[in-house]
């Protein structure tokens, strides 16, 4: 117990001192050919003192990062309206702006923040969206992301995924000894990083529960890999496995009741299913080859996994009802670590072509394969809950960085850390409010 307290204190210290180091920086490298011109006018602050957050800037950055919008620079705005009466369409036509977002932010009862917003279509000269978001003032950025989600959905027809979060692993090299590994939680734009776990031993495979309230990961802190489950709100965690050999790649079922994982306790790596209520294990695959990297189809009826049973790693599908296994990928000699979008159609994976490792997308209906990235050593793809973007790990120089690409390959941005290597991003599901 004393030991545990010491560990907790150490973790708290880590939270206080190290959070800034893991922070990601966003660099947009490629946008759409004809992005929509939108003006996100600075929101009027109706509280005392200065606003706790530049809400409009957060929204502006979200829309820009999607690659589908080209936000107007504040210096180019001829007016800065914050109410409908102050909006004159000629001001915006003059600078070729298609949409204008205005808003007002206020704080009531010390800590309750309210953001009201209105979106105007300059060509149709009409208000197309209005609404408000309320929450704790400490969550101002999350409220702004929600506004961005609403604007994005109104203008693209696709739900936004800005009010979501990321998990990733970062490593600070220590030439004098063991490296520092950290598991970090941040907003979808990399802001507000929180170090959840720090260790001198590797941390791997972070993943989300379907309700976004729990995470699972692999930690070597006992000098061997083990799977842990952690509640985000309380930080309480449980060690789920401690078998001989591999304990890896935890993947929550869509109903949240079970977890697929890789264990090699019986000699070589196979896919197992753990009932999270009883901790009972069911062995799904039984093959002398490597079976690894399980991931669920969104309907929860089958599990995709990587296997080299055909000689080289390829993606297979295991039907949970019939126990039948079928091979899904045939193009190329290396296809691994699949993730499937919520539509159950877009499969992204690591695909080797010309000796390089790229992120590729395979349409599970047409089986057409599209290579999305042109960098090398791309790995660990994770799809946004709205299916629009894929976040992945890659290398820039000899540093590990995160990068993102849209599922049509048209939009790209990079998220290097201010310091150290970053890897294994896991995009959260939609967060319940």
């Amino acid at each position: 117990m004393k030991h545990l307290t010491a560990v907790l204190v150490a973790t708290v210290v880590a939270l206080a001192t190290l959070s800034a180091r893991a922070e990601l920086v966003i660099e947009i490298t490629q946008g759409m050919d004809n992005p929509t011109a939108i003006a996100v006018v600075p929101f009027a602050w109706q509280g005392g003192g200065t606003a706790p957050e530049d809400v409009a800037q957060v929204i502006d950055n979200d829309l820009a990062r999607s690659g589908q919008f080209d936000p107007v620079g504040r210096g180019d705005m001829l007016a800065r309206p914050s109410t409908q009466q102050e909006v004159f369409y000629r001001d915006w036509r003059a600078i070729n702006t298609e949409y204008v977002l205005i808003g007002r932010a206020s704080v009531t009862g010390q800590v309750q923040m309210r953001i009201e917003y209105e979106l105007f279509d300059v060509n149709r000269q009409a208000r197309v969206l209005s609404g408000y978001e309320e929450g704790h003032v400490n969550e101002a950025r999350m409220l702004a992301h929600r506004v961005a989600d609403e604007v994005y959905e109104t203008l693209t027809g696709i739900p936004g995924a800005f009010a979501t979060r990321l998990l990733y692993v970062s490593v600070t090299r220590n030439p004098a000894g063991k490296d520092f590994y950290r598991l970090t939680l941040s907003d979808s734009d990399g802001a507000r990083p929180i170090v959840l776990l720090e260790s001198r031993e590797p941390i791997m495979a972070p993943s989300w529960s379907p309700d976004g309230k729990h995470i699972a990961y692999v930690s070597f802190e006992t000098s061997r890999p083990a799977i842990y489950r952690q509640e985000l709100a309380s930080g309480a965690r449980v060690q789920l496995t401690n078998f001989r050999g591999l304990n890896g790649a935890p993947a929550w079922s869509p109903d949240g009741n079970s977890m697929a994982m890789v264990l090699s306790k019986d000699g070589n790596p196979d896919i197992y299913l753990m009932d999270l209520r009883t901790r009972e294990l069911t062995q799904l695959t039984r093959h002398y080859a490597i079976d690894t990297e399980p991931t669920w189809m969104p309907d929860g009826r089958s599990i995709l996994f990587t296997s080299d049973r055909g000689g080289r790693p390829q993606i297979y599908r295991y039907d949970l009802r019939t126990g039948a296994t079928e091979r899904l990928t045939y193009e190329g000699s290396y296809n691994a670590r699949a993730r499937v979008a919520q539509d159950g159609r877009n499969l992204v994976m690591v695909h080797q072509a010309g000796g390089q490792f790229h992120i590729a997308l395979q349409d599970l209906v047409t089986n057409r394969l599209q290579i999305l990235t042109s960098t090398d050593l791309d790995e660990s793809p994770s799809i946004a809950p709205n299916g629009s973007m894929v976040l992945y790990g890659t290398k820039s120089g000899d540093r590990g960085i995160l990068a993102a690409v849209s599922v049509d390959g048209g939009v790209k941005f990079r998220l290097p850390a201010r310091e150290g290597d970053v890897r294994e991003p896991a995009w959260s599901p939609y967060m319940s409010r």
Partner: protein, 174 residues
């Protein structure tokens, strides 16, 4: 650590010899001539044992020198878990030494950065298992061997390219 263990064994035996001498002198205090003879015999015995132990220590030192010369890292080809001849020769030196003691070892399997992290975890395990199986076939009990895979998580060399990758595809014996 190894030297300490040998020195410890020598000391233990010396203490045992002294203890035996003390005991026997107590039991035979009426017959001092017999006691003297027993003491002389014990002393001769302990001297012989000491000489034997010194020989053993020297033999073990030779084995340790051989192990130090080959190092404790065994390298592999890309996407392969086959033991290379050089690695096999190095491993033989370790096996010779392990036959003379009851030490447990830990085999840590590693890969280069190419390929996915989880697949590399499996590949690192295959490499560690290859080394373990070779040791078991050559007479080292499997309960003395622990295997752990680190996949690509702990590279020796951080850069890309074969010069770096070849250093990272390895099993370390600890």
């Amino acid at each position: 650590m190894k030297q300490l263990t040998v020195a410890g064994k020598v000391l233990t035996l010396l203490f045992a010899a002294v203890f035996l001498v003390a005991c026997s002198s107590k039991d035979t205090k009426d017959d001092s001539a017999a006691a003297d003879a027993a003491a002389a015999e014990a002393a001769a015995r302990s001297a012989a044992e000491r000489a034997a132990l010194e020989d053993a220590a020297m033999a073990e030192q030779r084995l340790q020198d051989a192990v130090a010369a080959v190092g404790n890292v065994f390298y592999f080809d890309y996407d392969s878990s086959t033991l290379k001849p050089q690695a096999q020769a190095a491993l033989d030196a370790h096996i010779e030494l392990l036959r003379t003691n009851d030490r447990s070892v830990r085999l840590e399997g590693h890969t280069d950065e190419r390929g996915t992290r989880e697949y590399n975890m499996a590949l690192g395990e295959r490499r560690a298992n290859t080394v373990r199986d070779y040791m078991v076939v050559n007479g080292i009990a499997s309960y003395r061997i622990e295997t752990v895979s680190y996949g690509e998580e702990q590279p020796i060399a951080y850069g890309s390219g074969e010069a770096n990758w070849s250093q990272n595809r390895r099993v370390e014996l600890k």
